[in-house]
């Protein structure tokens, strides 16, 4: 065990820090749940790509820098510390990207990954269907194999970023006789294809953070298939693992939220009349640290050749509850101002806590509800009997 950064790590951190200091937009971008904000975020990704910062862990030939996971963690720490924009392409770079590396052909990797890293093509996930949420195996959208292409019909929903994205990926039933986990195939669909209709779904805050996607005889070439036909479930499970687990939920995000919470507490200390709140702030700090240490331990294990298992489920529960708790605490600290939108005259110091509070509610739901994660922990990690 060696818990000190190397000279190389420190130099890398400095490099990231100075590039971000020079390049992160001074004014916060508009939310990417608006057309204008989406375009701003796309441009930011292009800027990142110019500096080769799109996805530092990817091989150089795919637009990355070939760095290891510790360096990725350092990059993320600096990124969040610098309050750089949220990554609009996270469904691509954090979810689909690693799966593509594992299951894609060389042609597919060359075709999709560089444009993913550069933000030229933004991806939306297409996991859920109206009848298939937690129960992903209940998928009914179909893809009919016509030799050199598929004809796709059906509907996806809760598709994050789909309102403005370029592509979606998901599972489609290629064997009409099949049921549950069998006969599913993992396919990429361009959202501008003929027969695709995207209907944005407004979220709690009124913005269309996700959308329904309707497929009406959409034709896509068989080259858009990832992995073998009928093997979609296994391909998807590896992606779902990434979604729940390490890649998407950077510890730095929660550490910075915790740090902002500490500052919020200090700014409002005189008005805080409930000693419970200080305890919650301390707990936020500790839990964010615990999540970070845990992630470094996982990253070290992966670097040493280990693999990722059901701890993606403990991670999911831990960060989502941490995030919710931190935002609840912020609401308590803000008191009467908590309900206000930041532009209001009386909204002194509310920042984006309200929007974060709303968003934190979704953390316990998406990427597999926490109830599903608890089932997974009990059955796969602890070996308890299935129902």
């Amino acid at each position: 065990m060696d818990l000190a950064y190397t000279q190389e790590h420190k130099a890398f951190r400095e490099e990231v820090r100075s590039w971000l200091a020079a390049n992160v937009p001074k004014e916060p971008l508009k939310t990417f749940d608006t057309a204008e904000g989406f375009q701003q975020h796309r441009e930011w990704e292009a800027t990142m790509n110019k500096g080769r910062w799109g996805m530092v862990t990817w091989p150089e030939e795919l637009g990355g820098r070939g760095l290891d996971l510790i360096q990725w963690l350092i990059f993320e720490e600096e990124y969040y510390r610098a309050q750089a924009p949220t990554r609009v392409n996270q469904n691509g770079i954090f979810l689909l990207g690693p799966t593509l590396m594992e299951y894609g052909t060389e042609e597919q990797k060359a075709r999709y990954l560089p444009k993913m890293a550069s933000g030229e093509e933004i991806w939306a996930q297409g996991w859920s269907e109206p009848g298939a949420g937690s129960d992903m195996a209940a998928i009914r959208s179909k893809a009919e194999n016509k030799g050199d292409h598929y004809i796709i019909n059906g509907q996806k929903t809760w598709s994050t970023r789909a309102a403005f994205a370029d592509w979606t990926f998901g599972m489609f039933r290629t064997d009409p006789e099949s049921s549950r986990h069998k006969g599913l195939t993992f396919i990429f669909v361009p959202l501008n294809a003929e027969g695709v209709t995207v209907r944005p779904i407004p979220q709690l805050n009124g913005h269309p953070g996700f959308a329904e996607i309707f497929f009406d005889n959409v034709k896509v070439p068989v080259e858009n298939r990832l992995g073998d036909e009928g093997a979609g479930w296994n391909v998807a499970m590896s992606t779902a693992g990434f979604e729940r687990g390490l890649m998407l939920r950077s510890p730095a995000r929660f550490q910075e939220t915790a740090r902002r919470l500490v500052k919020l507490y200090q700014e409002n200390e005189k008005e805080i009349d409930d000693p419970l709140i200080k305890g919650q702030v301390l707990k936020a700090y500790m839990d964010a640290e615990a999540y970070t240490l845990n992630t470094y331990m996982t990253a070290s294990r992966l670097i040493n050749g280990g693999s990722i298992g059901p701890e993606t489920s403990t991670n999911k529960i831990f960060w989502s509850e941490l995030d919710q708790n931190m935002h609840e605490t912020a609401m308590s600290i803000l008191g009467a101002r908590a309900e206000l939108e930041p532009h209001c005259s009386e909204a002194r110091g509310v920042g984006s806590w309200l929007d974060g509070f709303l968003f934190s509610q979704s953390g316990l739901i998406y990427a597999g509800t926490n109830e599903i994660q608890r089932n997974i922990i009990a059955e796969r990690m602890l070996g308890m009997p299935r129902a």
């Binding site: 009848g131 949420g133 709690l204 009349d273 009386e346 316990l364 739901i365 998406y366 509800t369």
Partner: protein
């Protein structure tokens, strides 16, 4: 000793519940979001016609001659219906305040509130903002140990935008003008506390109603929505989330009703009972929102599904009429004052 509502009280509550569930539909609530005021004069007139604005006014003055104990059930229904109109603020807070002030300049408003022709708003120092000032005629302002009656037309108001699209909230900029003073001294001091008690209890009652409404929506949704071949409401995890909320609101009920009785009877510990009510009902409503969105899954995170109407009301009301910390301090004072005066036999 009889800790139960009368048949009449319950029948009246039921009739109001029926009225609200018929009239205050989610379609209406959503359509009001698109209007300038967010309020419906039609609905307000109906509420007045039912006598609700004058529930706490003696019959000889044209009211229903009821008391806070009667009204608490109505306040709970306002929460259950997520009513946007400022019924509680007028009937349960402003009307008794105007009655107690009994000042020639403000008395005329009493009759107008009864008839639905006027509304009043309250600016209390425990609150940062004044709600519904844009549709009120009069603002009763607690300032410098006095109460001032300010015509809304003369008041400087800055509209704020909050998480609940039904809530209309304003910052009042007001510098005391002597001619507006309608109460001072002991009376003003007493009313400062009494108004806070009423306001906090009104939040508690609404939280109680909001919590039950959210659980009702969750039960309905999870009974229909199927995953893994069965209704998700048949999964133990979903059931237990709902059961935990039910335990909270069931045990908040008696606390809220008792606080109403204490206000009606000017119990010396009314503020303690109100503080307890606000803490307990808030706990139930916030848990209902948290578990409510959870059992709705992604549906609960949409604008389309109605759950957020109730959730946002619960979140927004929670920070009004005194924080949890404020009310805990009230309890603390009582509890540590004399341990021989608390515990078994000292509840009533």
């Amino acid at each position: 000793m009889n800790f139960s509502f009368s048949e009449d009280q319950l029948l009246f509550r039921d009739s109001v519940r029926d009225f609200l569930s018929n009239e205050v539909t989610t379609d209406l609530i959503r359509s009001l979001w698109e209007t300038d005021t967010g309020r419906s004069q039609t609905l307000w007139s109906q509420l007045a016609e039912l006598g609700l604005t004058g529930m706490l006014v003696p019959e000889e003055h044209g009211g229903l001659g009821m008391n806070e104990e009667d009204f608490i059930l109505i306040a709970e229904e306002c929460g259950r219906a997520a009513l946007p109109e400022p019924l509680i603020e007028n009937a349960m807070i402003a009307v008794p305040l105007l009655q107690a002030i009994n000042h020639e300049s403000t008395n005329p408003y009493l009759g107008k509130i009864l008839s639905g022709e006027a509304k009043a708003s309250i600016a209390h120092p425990v609150n940062l903002l004044v709600s519904d000032a844009h549709v009120s005629d009069l603002i009763l302002v607690f300032i410098d140990k006095e109460i001032h009656a300010v015509k809304t037309a003369d008041a400087e108001l800055i509209e704020q935008e909050g998480v609940d699209p039904s809530r209309k909230i304003f910052k009042l900029n007001y510098k005391a003008k002597t001619e507006n003073c309608v109460a001072n001294g002991d009376l003003a001091e007493r009313l400062l506390q009494e108004t806070l008690n009423r306001g906090a209890l009104a939040v508690a009652a609404q939280h109680l109603g909001l919590a039950q409404a959210m659980v009702g929506q969750c039960v309905e949704y999870t009974s229909e929505r199927k995953q893994f071949g069965q209704a998700i409401g048949s999964f133990q995890a979903v059931k237990h989330h709902m059961a935990n909320v039910a335990v909270k609101y069931e045990f908040a009920k008696a606390v809220v009703y008792r606080a109403a009785n204490s206000i009606a009877n000017q119990h010396p510990d009314a503020a303690v009972h109100v503080a307890h009510a606000k803490i307990a009902a808030s706990d139930a409503a916030l848990l209902a929102a948290k578990h409510g969105i959870q059992v709705h899954g992604a549906m609960g995170y949409t604008w389309e599904v109605n759950l957020h109407i109730w959730m946002k009301r619960a979140w927004a009301l929670d920070k009004t009429w005194g924080s949890l910390g404020y009310h805990k301090k009230v309890i603390e004072k009582k509890v540590f004052a004399d341990t021989n005066k608390i515990g078994a036999g000292y509840s009533f």
